[in-house]
């Protein structure tokens, strides 16, 4: 009897130890911005989260993005072979779409914070997103454009990230065609390779609004915006949520006066929760992260809550994420639908220098 009790006690202790020893590795993207210094906002977001939550069982593994789309699934497969089962990814749509198959069979689960392609929507898989898809985003931008005065619209589409800009433009075009108010001129350019002397002719003409359809927080978006501003000083310049970065505003110069950025978040002046968090981040790392880092923080909070609830496998985490009607985070609630997608409202920020995100 005593032996049986001892055995049971040992089993309970062993289970407890086993439970406490579970380590969930999380792949964190470190975006490689072409031709630019690398921004470690997401990695620092992860570091700060774990510093503020020392009892978290999440452990970090670096996951580097690449410019080449084909490298996306390969890098994820490599980490999976190393035993990583959970990914918080900042892959853009161009990288995330081919990577989707890596999250189809339940061998790994991803929470993406930046890929909005609608080709990722509506799949019952292990790929979750904390950002609304491109349809919602471009519908919101189209609505904003419809609210602006004028008829002539210049759209500059970045061809370096077609996984995002192609479906985005398609949605935008469809939405704008409903009202039929805008006469749209579209030029395609590679923002990372932007050359003001070579590309200046694309910006010439008379326009009432300009939409720069580019993302991935490319700092040179600011240069393009500034050149646009010099050509069209009184024309509003709309930017996607993926241009919501202090580095872009620094390059934009006086164009900041004309810029409007679509965002799911309010500015830090408007939202004290965001301001407090950014102050902590700035105190710790000495710079202001781009807006996407807020979503990375949300993803960490959600995944950590799932692990704290006892979920340790991709299937268990998926069940947890779908079972909860909503997930509370530092910057508001996140609600996943049955396919792991979210809906969200947009507002358009008119930033001043150093005030974003």
């Amino acid at each position: 009897m005593l032996g049986l009790a001892g055995l049971l006690l040992g089993l309970i202790v062993w289970q407890g130890l086993r439970r406490s020893a579970v380590v969930v590795a999380v792949g964190v993207d470190l975006p490689l911005v072409p031709g630019a210094a690398i921004n470690p906002s997401d990695r620092h977001t992860a570091d700060l989260y774990l510093e503020e939550h020392p009892r978290s069982r999440l452990r970090l593994v670096n996951h580097f993005n690449d410019e080449v789309a084909a490298s996306g699934p390969a890098s994820i497969a490599k980490l999976k072979r190393q035993g990583v089962r959970f990914f918080i990814t900042t892959q853009s749509s161009t990288l995330a779409v081919p990577s989707l198959r890596e999250f189809a069979d339940g061998s790994a689960l991803a929470i993406n914070v930046s890929a909005v392609s609608n080709r990722l929507s509506g799949h019952d898989d292990f790929f979750f997103r904390v950002v609304p898809d491109v349809t919602q985003e471009q519908q919101a931008i189209a609505r904003r454009l419809d609210g602006l005065p004028g008829r002539r619209l210049l759209v500059l589409q970045d061809i370096s990230n077609p996984g995002y800009t192609e479906p985005a433009f398609a949605v935008l075009q469809a939405e704008l065609s409903r009202s039929g108010r805008w006469q749209m001129v579209k030029h395609r350019l590679s923002v990372p390779d932007f050359d003001p002397r070579r590309d200046q002719h694309l910006l010439t003409g008379r326009y009432d609004a300009v939409y720069l359809l580019a993302g991935t927080f490319l700092p040179m978006i600011g240069n393009v915006a500034q050149l646009l501003y010099t050509q069209h000083p009184n024309v509003p310049i709309l930017l996607t949520p993926w241009a919501n970065s202090p580095a872009i505003l620094e390059s934009a110069g006086p164009a900041v006066r004309s810029i409007q950025i679509a965002s799911n978040f309010r500015t830090r002046e408007q939202d004290l929760r965001i301001d407090r968090y950014l102050r902590r981040f700035e105190r710790r790392f000495g710079y202001t992260p781009y807006a996407m880092a807020l979503r990375t923080r949300q993803a960490f909070e959600i995944l950590d809550a799932a692990v704290r609830s006892g979920a340790t496998t991709p299937m268990e985490v998926k069940r947890y994420l779908l079972r909860q009607p909503q997930h509370s985070t530092s910057f508001g609630v996140v609600r996943f639908d049955a396919d792991g997608d979210v809906a969200g409202a947009y507002q358009f920020l008119k930033p001043r220098w150093q005030t974003l995100p």
């Binding site: 630019a36 690398i38 990695r43 700092p219 050149l227 010099t230 620094e250 110069g253 790392f285 000495g286």
Partner: protein
């Protein structure tokens, strides 16, 4: 009473040696650790000096750029449009900007630059360093350039001559060509073996020596402590960052010391110390085991033999077995023959044992003789006293009244006492003969038969029936002194006869049997004498020197028998006869050769 904790010598020795091994290993480890720490400190100081050299080079480069820009600023505006700016290799980009930091003219531009005419640096990260002061140059901190997001340092200097067009002040803004610095870092890193990084305050790596590609370094923990700080993990490697601040650049020069080498050295030293300690421990254990086998084994054997010796001397002398001398340990390998001390102990102990043994024999003999002499004197004294008394009585009676004399009776008593004295003297003679026993192959059957014949008349006169068995064999040979043996058997038969003398004539039975026997060790012959008397009145197992069951007995007869058997390597067993109910005495003697039963 205070108890003293005891332990074996070899265990204490081993513990002490193992402790010494651990201490030696610890001292070695500590010493190595201190030496390594100093080495590491020196290594870090070298890296610090390297970082200072890089710092110095950067300052010189900045100063040279500033001087060149100042010289250029002294030229008229018209000349600035010529080839002069292009010859300044120290700048990759050169602009004329106005007080609002807007580019008014591009004098030199790097390929792929995204800065254009009319581009404004207002609101950018370099704006705080641009000012419109007169005649004073300024240098920006290192940051990502707005031209191409690459690391950049801007130097601005106001033009000395006013611009001709509108009279507003213009400034020369140059972006330093950092490819020189990049090349310098690469070369420096190659020679020093340590990667060098130029890191801004927010942790972004602006420049790094090839091939290291690190986006950012968390130096927040080093903000208040220039020099070596806690290790970093970059590209799967551990580094010790040595930080040197450059206030002019607003950046830190970080020299990365690969910790792998230091770790390898530490691990090597640790391994060495651990190996030495382990080897010492192994040597000590092996040595102790060998010592235990070759030194402590013989000592332990010696101690056992001393204990055995003590036990021997606590026993009666008659039951002592001959002492074996110190075991030479040849079979167990614990001979200790390699050690002079052990050989000396063995030889000394052997000699001591021999001396003790001889002295013991002498003492026993002396004791036996003394006791016997005293007893005999006492024995002789008794009949002599009786004789003396009878003689006085006879004299008195002869002198007073001869008619009432019972002369025959007195004479008979005198004769009896005389015979008693004679018997005591015989025994004394026999005892004295025991001192030297001459053993010869002897047919025990004939000795027993002789004893029976010797006592035949006495037995018949006492109406004692003697039943003999086993006397028809002629192959029971023993190594014996026939005279002594016959005396002992005669004594026993006489004792038996005396014991049954108070029984009715038909119950006066004595049985003698001779039985060969094979014990576990040797062939023996047992001579058993039983009687129908009252049996022993004393405890037969008590081997006190003299015992007797007779009222007037001295126990001398039994003592004689014991002595005889001891002289013949035999043994005596006393007990009660199951057949006749009286005493039973068994003499066990070793046979010369095994005899079939």
């Amino acid at each position: 009473m205070k108890s003293v904790r005891t332990s074996s010598f070899w265990r204490t020795s081993l513990n002490a040696e193992l402790l010494a091994a651990v201490l030696a290993g610890g001292v070695l480890l500590g010493g190595s650790w201190i030496a390594l720490s100093r080495l590491q400190q020196s290594y870090v100081q070298l890296a610090q000096a390297d970082a200072e050299r890089v710092n110095l080079y950067l300052r010189e480069h900045l100063a040279a750029g500033s001087v060149q820009l100042q010289q250029l600023a002294e030229l008229p505006v018209e000349q600035l449009q010529g080839s002069a700016p292009r010859l300044l290799q120290v700048f990759s980009d050169l602009y004329l900007v106005d007080a609002q930091h807007q580019v008014r003219r591009i004098l030199k531009s790097a390929s792929g630059s995204r800065v254009f005419m009319g581009f404004s640096f207002a609101g950018s990260r370099i704006e705080p360093y641009l000012h419109s002061g007169k005649g004073v140059g300024s240098t920006s901190h290192i940051s990502r350039g707005l031209e191409d997001e690459r690391a950049s340092i801007y130097i601005q200097h106001p033009l000395v001559l006013p611009a001709a067009a509108d009279g507003r002040p213009l400034f020369l803004l140059g972006r330093l060509n950092l490819s020189y610095i990049q090349g310098f870092l690469n070369q420096f890193s190659r020679f020093s073996g340590n990667p060098v990084l130029l890191v801004t305050r927010d942790g972004f790596v602006m420049l790094s020596s090839q091939p290291l590609q690190v986006p950012a370094v968390d130096l927040s923990f080093a903000a208040s402590a220039p020099g070596p700080v806690r290790p970093l993990t970059l590209e799967g490697q551990q580094w010790l960052p040595v930080v040197s601040r450059n206030s002019a650049l607003g950046a830190s020069i970080v020299t990365l010391v690969p910790l792998d080498r230091l770790f390898q050295q530490q691990q090597l030293v640790l391994l060495l110390a651990a190996t030495v300690a382990l080897l010492m421990a192994v040597v000590f254990v092996v040595k102790t085991l060998r010592m235990r086998q070759q030194l402590f084994g013989p000592i332990s054997s010696f101690i056992n033999q001393l204990v055995e010796l003590e036990m021997q001397y606590r026993r009666p002398a008659t039951s002592r077995v001959p002492l074996t001398l110190l075991d030479d340990g040849a079979e167990t390998g614990a001979s200790g023959a390699n050690f002079l001390e052990i050989q000396q102990i063995r030889s000394s102990f052997t000699a001591l044992m021999q001396v003790i043994h001889q002295r013991d024999l002498i003492l026993q003999q002396q004791l036996r003789t003394s006791l016997t002499a005293a007893t005999i004197a006492h024995e002789i004294n008794q009949p002599l006293a009786t004789i003396h008394l009878l003689c006085q009585l006879a004299q008195d009676q002869l002198g007073r009244d001869a008619s009432g004399l019972d002369i025959p009776d007195l004479i008979s008593k005198l004769d009896h006492q005389s015979q008693e004295v004679n018997r005591v003297i015989e025994r004394m003679r026999m005892l004295l003969r025991n001192v030297k026993t001459e053993l010869h192959p002897t047919d025990i059957t004939s000795v027993v038969s002789s004893a029976c014949l010797y006592l035949k008349a006495q037995l018949q006169s006492h109406q004692v029936q003697l039943c003999c068995s086993g006397l028809d064999r002629d192959d029971l040979m023993v190594e014996a002194d026939a005279g002594q043996l016959q005396m002992a058997i005669t004594n026993l038969l006489r004792n038996a006869s005396d014991a049954v003398s108070h029984q009715p004539p038909e119950r006066r039975l004595v049985a003698l049997s001779l039985l060969p026997s094979v014990s576990s060790s040797a062939a023996e012959v047992i001579l058993r004498i039983e009687d129908s008397g009252p049996g022993f009145r004393f405890d037969p197992s008590d081997d006190t020197l003299f015992h007797s069951s007779k009222a007037a007995g001295t126990g001398l007869g039994l003592f004689v028998v014991r002595t005889t058997l001891a002289n013949h390597q035999g043994s005596l067993e006393l007990g009660r006869s199951s057949r006749l109910g009286g005493a039973q005495v068994s003499l066990v003697l070793p046979l010369l050769s095994p005899s079939p039963a």
